[in-house]
Amino acid sequence: MKTTQAQRINAYFSNHWQAIFASLRDFIRRPISTGLTILVIGIALAIPVIFFVFLNNVTHVSGGFEKANQISLYLHKSLAENHQQELLTYLRKRHDIAYANLITPSQGLQELEQMGSFADLTELLPDNPLPPLIEVHPALRASQPASVQLLYNELKRLPEVDSAKIDMQWVERLDALVNLATKVVDGFLVLLAITVLLVIGNTLRLAVQNKRQEIEVLKLIGATNRFIRRPFIYSGLFYGLFGALIALGLVDVLLVFIHKPVARLASFYHVDYRLIGLHAGNVILIVLLGLVLGGLGASLSVRRQIAAIEPE
């Protein structure tokens, strides 16, 4: 049988189409078991994705706290206003300081009153107990915890400064926690990826067993292992693809569910926080992960099994 190159390429693609249809037909023929398998894969993939979304939001929120990396300089109460201004000008000129703000005692009192609970403060207090305050924001290149610490040490020793406060310890702790959680999520991802591999591998192992007779017939009429394997590999790819789509759906549903509680929580902190979902890059990555796991799981379990089947 002589075939031209074009015919052979044509036939190659139609072979693949047939394998795709055959694997989808098998899915439809067993909707319940197929659906359950896809659901298991979807849940297994959704768990690390949910952790990822959670962490992503936490890092985003904690990123918003970067400005907490500020140094508060409480000046001597007796310091004259022109000296306060001089210090402010000096600080603003420094290269390791992004900007500095002076909050006079009366401004500070006003701010307190605006926060609500301290309404009639001015009437209660005979005179303003607040010292003048300068908020110093380190420049970006000096915003590493260590350099902020150095800056803090230096500013603390200025003669005009009564006391200084640096509020970054908890930011560091949060940072460390997020780092740890990221590692844990990576571990989860590996374990659950193995789960998906095993589920797909085992499902297809059973599928091969069920089709043993068909495979024998195919071998008898000269089918190569590759030809016989093809529909199973496509089944694996579809399991992975549909599982990934289910996972994305589950994550979406979860985000909708927790949207309100998060908004409520954020309202306590007077912020309008919107949950960060998955962006297109994440979605593509998850779908690719599903496809890779599906194809790999199928190939690993089916290859040897099909090679071992021989007609009798």
Binding site: T3, Q7, A11, S14, L218, I221, A223, N225, F227, P311
Partner: protein, 192 residues
Amino acid sequence: MAAGEMAFLTGHSGAGKSTLLKLIALIERPSMGQLIVNDYDIKQVKKRQVPEFRRQIGVIFQAPHLLQERTVFDNVALPLVIAGVSHQAIAKRVRAALDMVGLLAKEKCYPLQLSGGEQQRVGIARAVVHKPNLLLADEPTGNLDPVLSAEIMRLFEQLNEVGVTVLVATHDLGLIAGLRHRILTLKRGCML
């Protein structure tokens, strides 16, 4: 056996008819001796050459070994699909093969909708659709009544007339007595 010949292989059960056919189709491997099929020395054929080798022969069994989930047309088309023949060519040749066995009208049926004789004929169509130069049949009429059996034998003779080498294993001596072809008899694994 010469190319283009038709012969019957007979002998008692257990004499080795099936084994010889299985050896030829590379389903079993010889432990000793020499077997040359289509210019291939069976012992020299490597594992990954087996599919290629099998595509050059057609095999028919006592049971038709059809895929129940596919139509008659798809069953017959399988050897061509495997060989990578184009769509149009497949349709043409499958219909020609079905026409030859008289089942063109049933191409859309599933094997279970057909009678035993019809299924066997589908199996024959599948075995010859890719125009093999050697056709092996192992008790192809074992499950069929005499009328159907004679019909099947006529089919084999037709194929032989267009140049296919045909080797039919059967213990039904009555069936082949009236046909003028060489009869090879096996007894305890030895050719008589």
